[in-house]
């Protein structure tokens, strides 16, 4: 299943990319599983998504909980807690 990933702010800088298209293994169907999948890549991804890193997620531009499902064609964004206003 193909999804579009987007990274913002410190996460974008840590990973060195604003996003990518990714083809996910069949077991990866939630935001939490996707995060775990990215941690398995190791390196910058392991650091950015692992441990106690505070990472928020949005699916198709709606803020979601880790248990939220993802489907083919979704736009999944990861970012640190927001600091606007």
């Amino acid at each position: 299943m193909k999804v579009k990933l987007l990274f913002f702010a410190s996460l974008r800088e840590q990973l060195g990319t604003p996003g990518e298209e990714v083809d996910l293994p069949s077991g990866v169907t939630t935001v939490a599983a996707l995060r775990e999948h990215l941690i398995q890549r190791g390196g910058a991804y392991g650091k950015a998504f692992g441990g106690k890193a505070l990472v928020r997620a949005a699916v198709n531009q709606d803020m979601v909980q880790p248990s939220a499902p993802i489907q083919a064609g979704d736009e999944v964004a990861f970012f640190p807690p927001v600091t606007g206003g």
Partner: protein, 153 residues
């Protein structure tokens, strides 16, 4: 309702005058946030940011008897004393205008996807989210309670 996420500066006076309406508006409460001390870059998630702000403004309009809402939030490079954000709420009476304006600001700080990066001498650092901002937004949850009703915060 007017929602704008933009690089350019805004004229708060003109925006407030625009909300004056047709005679039904008795109160306009506004908030302008400014850059303090340090130059910064504001990053945002184009598309989601506008949607999230619109959701917050709609929520405010449902909770209070609000006639119109304007929210303008800038992104890009900003210097000390620059305007960052404007929230202006028009209502029949001041209580509703004040409450809705504060509600929109509190939720904007915790839900709208913006990230500040401060540029201090020789170093640039992402601003960390504050627990006090989450607490400010949370006081609006609870059964119809308004801030001030709970003394612990």
């Amino acid at each position: 309702m007017r929602i704008s996420v933009q690089r350019e500066d805004f004229d708060a006076g003109a925006e407030i005058r625009r909300l004056s309406g047709d005679g039904s508006v008795g109160a306009i409460a506004s908030f302008v946030g400014l850059v303090r001390d340090v130059p910064m870059t504001l990053e945002h998630y184009a598309g989601m940011t506008e949607r999230e702000i619109a959701k917050i403004a709609h929520e405010a309009a449902q909770r209070w008897n609000v006639i119109d809402v304007t929210v303008i939030h800038r992104f890009g490079e900003l210097r000390p004393a620059d305007q960052i954000v404007l929230v202006a709420v028009a209502a029949a009476h001041r209580g509703e205008a004040f409450a809705a304006c504060e509600f929109v600001m509190d939720y904007l700080k915790t839900r709208a996807p913006f990230w500040k990066k401060e540029h201090r001498a020789g170093a640039a650092e992402w601003v960390e989210a504050k627990a006090s901002d989450d607490a400010a937004a949370e006081r609006w949850t609870g059964a119809g309670k308004d801030p001030g009703a709970t003394s612990s915060r």
